[in-house]
């Protein structure tokens, strides 16, 4: 177990280095690179630019600059936002909760509905339900998230008037019910793709679990079919799904960015897009790196959880 943990941790660290190199390349591709803030200022002369480049150490070899940049990232110095002058880490931290709430509620919806569809599809294999679920999943994966959001707003906000068309709460109304009312549509819109993914993986995992010996044993012992499915099959099928949850995080963040844009949801995705619009590159870079670090951490946590739950790894 210790060996597994150490190995897994080492993998994550290596991945962090790889990710930081990719990030550093993107940073240097941005117009003006690390000097973009000054490049936009019309009062700057060539001499000024050269002097700032000198001060920022931009005439040193690239690998020295990279080490310098990476060290500062590790130390938590992610620069300051061009827009309001506050530290990038603080700006990001302000926007994380909204995104976490959105992604969290979406995940609950996707896991709940996806598990049900997947298990039912596997236990009623080749039934019309199974076919409908398969085709439905492929269509759900093909619908652009933002378009689904627009259609949702058109139907449920503009035509029926049941749900708010955007924002996290009504100004002047801070009740929990008001928050939940605003959360319903964005979280369902974001969940759609993940219901599809989750249900397909769950179907495969359930089919795998059903064909295992312990299921045969449980049935032979006279355990009711319902109990066999609920306890032995679903329990075991859910195990690999923990890994899937970690792997799916980048795609969840991609969906969140689009969903937040359509529903003016004040999260990280919205911040990323606004920062792009204002050419606030420190925040853009900060979010890019933060999302990758979040993904690496989520995958690490998922693997550790699986290891803790699964005695085959825990006791190894």
């Amino acid at each position: 177990m210790i060996a597994f943990l150490m190995g897994r941790l080492a993998q994550s660290l290596i991945l962090l280095v790889v990710v930081s190199i990719i990030g550093f390349i993107v940073l240097n591709l941005i117009p003006g690179g690390p000097m973009s803030q000054y490049a936009l200022d019309p009062g700057m002369t060539q001499d000024d630019m050269a002097r700032i480049a000198e001060q920022l150490g931009l005439n040193r070899p690239l690998w020295v600059q990279y080490l310098d940049w990476a060290t500062r990232m590790v130390q938590g110095d992610w620069g300051t936002s061009f827009r309001d002058g506050s530290p990038v880490t603080a700006v990001i931290a302000r926007h994380v909760p909204a995104t976490l709430i959105l992604m969290g509620s979406s995940t609950v919806i996707a896991v709940g509905i996806g598990t049900w569809i997947g298990v039912r599809g596997a236990t009623h294999r080749y039934s019309s339900f199974d076919y409908a679920a398969t085709i439905g999943a492929m269509i759900a994966l093909s619908i652009p998230t933002f378009w689904f959001g627009l259609i949702g707003i058109y139907v449920f906000s503009l035509q029926l008037g049941w749900l708010p068309a955007g924002n996290m709460y009504t100004i002047g109304d801070g009740s929990l019910l008001n928050y939940l009312h605003h959360l319903i549509m964005p979280s369902i819109v974001l969940a759609l793709v993940h219901i599809a993914i989750w249900s397909r993986f769950m179907r495969t995992a359930t089919l795998d679990a059903i064909s295992q010996e312990f299921v045969k044993t449980a049935r032979a012992k006279g355990v009711s079919e319902r109990r066999v499915i609920m306890k032995h099959v679903v329990g075991n099928a859910l195990l690999p799904m923990i890994t899937l949850a970690g792997v799916q995080l980048p795609s969840l963040l991609t969906g969140a960015l689009v969903t937040e844009t359509v529903f003016t949801w004040p999260g990280m995705g919205r911040l990323f897009l606004d920062s792009l619009g204002y050419s606030d590159y420190p925040v853009v870079m900060g979010l890019l790196m933060f999302s990758a670090v979040l993904t690496i951490a989520a995958n690490l946590v998922a693997d550790i959880v699986v290891a803790l739950v699964d005695p085959r790894i825990r006791l190894a």
């Binding site: 993107v26 652009p144 503009l158 993914i197 844009t261 990323f272």
Partner: protein
Amino acid sequence: MSTASTLPAPAPRWWKSRVVRRFLGHRLALLGLVMISLLTLACAFGPYFLPYDSLQIDLRGRFLPPFSGDHYLGTDPLGRDIAARLLMAGRISLLVGFFAMLLATILGTLVGVIAGYGGRTVNAVLMRLVDGFLSFPTIFLLLALAVALKPSPIMITVIIALTGWMEVARIVEAEVRSLKEREFVLAGRMLGLSRAHIMFREILPNCMGPIIVAATLTVARAILLEAYISFLGFGIQPPLPSWGNMLNGAQQYLGSAPWLAIIPGLAITIAVTSFNFIGDGLRDALDVRSDSF
């Protein structure tokens, strides 16, 4: 011994081959193929038969709903014909999707073959690079690159490919690694064939099934990604229409002119669904195992 039995069996026609038969037996795949063919033909030739040009502005005929006279799908906020724009946009979106797939597949295949056949170090370096790219949410990377490099249609195609080659690389790497211990590879080595020859002429042709399936699904993904970044305003730039940028700004007219949002979104959904259906059919026809679908 009769001479008849030594005659080679007549070569089966390609359209009678098992793969084609199984693909055609897959109803959804067939539906996808028909839909995408019709859509492609409409985009290629349709604009020549429409009464309006996609860039023709008519400020007296703004926001016309679908089926208003010759404007079969209505007009947009500048009075331009939506049908004409939809088909011209389809050209861009489908071309970007196709070429992004081509680039991503070539890049992914190269990385996959080299990583799979190469030694431990080469494999480790390349596969960690794949993992690294997969750690970023695609759209974050895509938007950052779109801002960094000027968003011309060619550049958009390139950056979509840059963020979409990893799946292919993973699939090819796994295939190559399992194939490289097989006898025919060993035979090739004993014959003194070069590494490149073994990698690309002996092993690669045996990976074509999974590559074709992954490529089909990559087209679907590329069309979606182009739509995402163009919708957000960082992809294909107006006046050049794309399905994504036709939707940019449609939200503010959702109440008064919902067709502005509904029509291009339907086109994207139909195109992407078609490629996903075709990919599913190819997977069955080519006997490609998969973990999920």
